[in-house]
């Protein structure tokens, strides 16, 4: 079953490589270049070595943002993955009802991210928004622009609303790929509903769930547009996630050097976590033979 070695296959990679490298490598090199220099003006650069990196790593604001970011991404994964899988299990398997459900469920995915922010900005306002209005009427003192907790929860609920469909869509596709014979065999073997989920559905969804987990982790870790529109990072810094902090640095204060150093660290953090998640899920798939 092992694949044959064929160096000519590299030729097939070339078009893809050129297209991606064009937009990926040059900017990356620019960023690396910035990260070790002090850019005083467009024509005046001073080499500063690792100074920016040291500064960034000791910046308490950044550490706060990092913690907020990690908590947020963790919450996102813990809510969206199980919810998406549950949703996929509940969706009809075939017929017009399946089509209709697919389209409705996928809808939030296809809305431009700032519009997602706008939708929730409107929806959550207690004066003109349905959600905020209802909560207020229920006697809950809800105000996402003033209360830290409300802002944070609103961003989280918005992300769940926005991205659970991605998990659901992938999980749904994974479920539909399971041949009927597996369910029939499980029925004959006397398996419980939970056993069917645990030993058939979950293992067969491993591939698509891996994509879902990694995509959700990367994208939630880099979330920017939606909270920016919804809360602008406030109140205080409650919803200032890493991306926003970075943008404030790079664009707002025009500290290009530190911003570049910051983004490299940022990138490495994502890489590290993706690596851990990937290996963990790989092992999860193979290691439970004695379960």
């Amino acid at each position: 079953m092992s694949k044959p070695v064929n160096q000519k296959a590299l030729l097939l990679i070339v078009p893809m490589f050129v297209c991606v490298a064009f937009s990926a490598i040059m900017p990356l090199m620019t960023v690396v270049n910035y990260s070790v220099q002090d850019i005083i003006s467009p024509t005046q650069h001073v080499f500063v070595g690792t100074e920016w990196f040291r500064m960034i790593l000791n910046d308490p604001d950044l550490q706060d943002a990092l913690v907020r970011q990690l908590v947020f991404s963790l919450c996102v994964l813990l809510i969206e993955i199980p919810l998406g899988v549950a949703l996929a299990l509940a969706m009809p398997a075939a017929g017009w009802r399946a089509s209709a459900t697919l389209v409705v469920v996928a809808m939030p995915l296809l809305i431009p991210w700032n519009v997602v922010g706008t939708v929730w900005q409107i929806f959550g306002r207690s004066d003109i928004g349905l959600g905020g209005y209802v909560l207020t009427q229920l006697g809950i003192d809800y105000n996402y622009t003033a209360h830290t907790r409300d802002a944070w929860l609103t961003v989280l609920v918005m992300d769940v609303w926005h991205w659970t469909p991605l998990v659901a869509l992938l999980a749904y596709a994974g479920l539909r790929a399971i041949p009927d014979a597996f369910y029939q065999a499980a029925e004959i073997d006397g398996a419980s509903r939970f056993a069917v989920f645990r030993y058939i559905e979950l293992p067969k969804m491993r591939g698509v769930l891996m994509i879902a987990v990694l995509l959700r982790f990367m994208d939630s870790f880099m979330i920017y547009t939606e909270p920016f529109v919804l809360t602008g990072g406030g109140p205080g810094n409650a919803t200032t996630f890493l991306s926003q902090y970075l943008t404030q640095k790079a664009v707002g204060q025009f500290d290009l050097g530190p911003a570049a150093a910051f983004s490299l660290i940022y990138f490495l953090i994502i890489l590290l976590f993706c690596f851990i998640l990937y290996n963990w899920m790989q092992r999860l798939g193979q290691g439970d033979g004695h379960a």
């Binding site: 004959i188 006397g190 398996a191 798939g285």
Partner: protein, 362 residues
């Protein structure tokens, strides 16, 4: 173990079937004995998988009843019927070891660990899987996976029947034979009722005590491999079984004697009378194995033009045209065909006659 009976059993996927074509399985009654090995044989779409699914309880028939040992199980699901099934493509629990796969049905039924271990080792021994027990099932080859599927059925003591749905489809040809032999051995050892669905006649004829031949949703014959070969009840059986299948030549009874193509064919007088009574669409059937070369003008023989003579090692396969009707003959390998015209004897003790595809005499 159980004997299985079908009473007026039929199935239509649409409600209120009116014509025969509306049935995926046309109503029929049939008995299968306890401990027998049965094969359901027919081309794809003939209804054999529907019948299998009715036996396993995955499909509830729209008409009639299914009895296991006299007990009506028509409305019961697969679980309550205690059957086991091996599917076309290996169904295994990917994340489990071979041991856990085999133990799964027993664990679901709440058996004690010690007993599970005993049963699993016993079955693994029988299937020659003992050395693989600790391996992950997902990493095994297709034939080992099919053995695991089978093993999950065998571990249960209460299994009424084991069903096979074209289980050798994904197995390498050189392993098929070994696996089939192992199946036969297990059958003899355990005296299980086995039901085997296939479209491959060699598989069906070598595996089963009795073969059920199906076409167009209809059971056309149930019988031993020998009966199917020698005395097919239906022209389809004659044509489908055997390689090449039975020669089937339309006869005309319009004139004084019977004619095949343009040539008169001398039939025994009582047979001719029986055929005239049977009515229309009369066909003569004779397996290529029983066609012999004859002298010119011999009784019961016709003149044919040689199309092809193919040496097959242990026989010579002659294809000849009798006034446009192709007739095949399996002759002794040393036979010499002189010229491009031969006489073939078609009226023999083994000759059968069909009216509207149903065997009427012979």
């Amino acid at each position: 173990m159980a004997c299985i009976e079908f009473r007026d059993l039929g199935h239509a996927y649409r409600p209120n079937p009116a014509t025969a074509g509306d049935y995926a399985l046309q109503p029929m009654s049939m008995d299968w004995a306890d401990g027998g090995a049965y094969a359901l044989l027919g081309p794809s779409g003939c209804g054999k998988t529907t019948l299998l699914n009715i036996v396993s309880g995955l499909v509830t028939p729209s008409h009639g009843r299914v009895l296991f040992d006299g007990r009506d199980v028509t409305a019961l699901g697969a679980r309550e019927r205690n059957i086991a099934q091996v599917f076309q493509f290996p169904v295994i629990y990917d994340t489990m070891t071979v041991f856990d796969n085999l133990a799964f049905p027993l664990r679901n039924r709440g058996l004690a660990d010690a007993e599970i271990r005993n049963r699993v080792h016993e079955v693994a021994e029988m299937l020659e899987l003992s050395n693989e027990l600790k391996r992950r099932a997902a990493n095994l080859a297709a034939d080992a996976k099919q053995k695991i599927s089978l093993g999950r059925g065998l571990v249960r003591k209460d299994v009424a029947a084991i069903l096979f749905d074209e289980p050798l489809t994904v197995i390498d040809p050189h392993l098929k034979w070994a696996l089939r032999r192992q199946l036969k051995k297990i059958h003899q050892q355990l005296k299980l009722t086995l039901i085997y669905v296939t479209h491959d006649q060699v598989e069906a004829l070598t595996f089963a005590d009795e073969v059920v031949v199906m076409t167009d949703g209809r059971v056309v014959q149930q019988g031993t491999p020998e009966a199917l070969f020698m005395r097919p009840d239906h022209a389809f059986v004659g044509y489908f079984i055997g390689s090449p299948g039975m020669n089937l030549c339309p006869l005309s009874l319009a004139g004084e004697a019977a004619t095949l193509g343009g040539q008169p064919l001398a039939l025994p007088e009582p047979m001719l009378r029986a055929l005239r009574e049977a009515g229309d669409e009369i066909r003569l059937g004779l397996r290529p194995e029983f066609v012999r070369l004859a002298a010119a003008g011999e009784a019961g023989a016709v003149r044919a033009r040689v199309v092809q003579a193919q040496p097959l090692g242990n026989s010579l396969l002659l294809s000849a045209s009798v006034d446009g009707q192709l007739v095949r003959a399996r002759l002794a390998p040393e036979t010499r065909i002189g010229g491009d015209e031969v006489w073939l004897r078609l009226v023999a003790p083994e000759t059968l006659y069909f009216s509207n595809d149903v065997r009427i005499a012979g």
